[in-house]
Symmetry: C2
Subunit: 293 residues, 2 copies
């Protein structure tokens, strides 16, 4: 068993997601909150220039920049440079390689308290099960099938999780979700401490995981203009069943557009502002149970 | 009685408030929706460059630029120039002076469906009372005491109202609020039509108006950094009574900060993202009844 020697807590990977930024500032002010005896805990503000400007990013979404090879036209983009800087500090070949990364995000969608896993290995599933027992409202989303295993900040660590909370408008703080995130971060650190001392105690648990299936774009016209909005019956209904024939979008003239798939899916990140430019109205997921012990 | 001859419907005065932008585009595609026999209805997208960029503004908040005199350092700011352009088109000394302006906005705060009045003259109060009868959920906010009577887009018309809807995250569409806004805009046009033909029929009504009292900033440290968030008990509680001693903010360490005022107030625009940079955590209002007939 490889012990966890160093943990990284990140916030502000997107410069307008304030909860994570203020959480990192709090931990830097009160390091005792994240200190655990068996490993070192570090913090980082992902995108200082975007934080200063109060925007998601300056040139490019930092959380998609960690696998961009050198020698491309994007080399001069601030976030590409910042990703390399962070990787050279905390990456596996860096100065202070981290074994576990926690990256804190916020979303306009009704994410509640969401844990994002990039792989479904035993270590990660046990952690997720432990956290679900501690905070039963926690939702677990696996991005393993999204093709996004290497481009995110958390991917530079041996293990990593993302935390998404919502709905919280970009550029705002949300006290209740701030406190819940803090409880979750502390529970992750507690788990890693127990893992290191081989004292994890976990009863057999059925863990619900929302597994990434695919992204859905807004209906668009020939010129690329959006032709319909999220249907009112779907707005804020993240994690709820969307059945074939259920209304999904509503045109500006008031006509419903139904979900055309053949199976029930569970949409998440519904109507996230930052995903409009990516052509994503929501992610569809499959709901799956894992027995973890 | 001066008849209404020309009405202006604006959207996109802030470039990331999508509902108003798509509403204007719809009206431009279907002008019959806003056509009324006794007056001309025009549309305008306030801030085209900000709309293109998906941001609130390029250099400066356009909706604070309509009273900036020439010859200032801000003359080269895009929004200052744009305000002058709009004023030269639709202002009282412009090419096509408008008698009534409707400016459509969106907010992260729990505004619901809000009508903003800049003055409490009889014409405006009767309109508000009529609209409240048509859409009982409508909340009426008077900014008359805010000192903002001349700086907004709507101020260029003889009469003007703002429409705020929320919560809708900036950069997103919200179908239910899109439809409610459309009903409200049509009701305003219907009222103006009745006004012109002297056929307004309004029973005596008690109209509730939330009158601007003052703005409250976030608690801040010496370096200007925010030290507390909106208290969870106040988040999304726009228009609800805030009594002396009620929790207002919550520090990052979890300590509540109480409202120190001596009278009950009714906060609105609680936790609006765009107001962080203005140093506004919320507006406090006084709730007042007007008998309108």
């Amino acid at each position: 068993m490889n012990k966890i020697k160093r943990v990284l807590i990140a916030g502000g990977t997107h410069g307008n997601e304030l909860n994570g930024i203020y959480a990192v500032r709090k931990y830097e002010r009160c390091p005792e909150l994240i200190h655990r005896p068996s490993f070192e805990t570090l913090t980082v503000l992902g995108n200082p220039r975007a934080i200063e400007a109060g925007v998601r990013y300056i040139d490019k979404d930092l959380n998609r920049c960690f696998d961009i090879p050198e020698g491309k036209a994007t080399d001069l983009d601030y976030e590409v440079q910042r990703a390399r800087e962070i990787k050279s500090q905390f990456g596996q070949a860096g100065q202070m390689p981290v074994d576990f990364a926690i990256d804190q995000h916020g979303t306009d969608s009704n994410a509640g308290l969401m844990l994002i896993l990039d792989s479904l290995d035993c270590f990660t599933l046990k952690l997720a099960a432990y956290l679900s027992c501690k905070q039963p409202e926690l939702k677990v989303y696996s991005s393993a099938a999204s093709g996004r295993s290497q481009d995110s900040l958390r991917s530079i660590a041996r293990y990593g999780v993302g935390i998404e909370v919502g709905p919280v408008a970009h550029g705002t703080l949300h006290a209740e979700l701030f406190q819940k995130t803090e409880v979750l971060v502390c529970a992750i650190l507690d788990y890693l401490e127990q893992y290191n001392s081989n004292t994890v105690s976990l009863e057999e648990t059925s863990l619900t995981v929302y597994q990434h299936a695919n992204a859905v774009d807004y209906p668009k016209g020939k010129n690329g203009e959006i032709q319909a909005m999220i249907h009112p019956q779907l707005q804020f209904k993240d994690y709820e069943a969307l059945n074939p024939g259920d209304p999904m979008f509503l045109t500006f003239d008031g006509d419903a557009i139904a979900y055309q798939g053949s199976t029930t899916v569970y949409p998440i990140f519904i109507n996230e502002a930052a995903y409009y430019e990516k052509g994503i109205a929501m992610y569809l997921t499959q709901k799956q149970q894992f027995q973890v012990s």
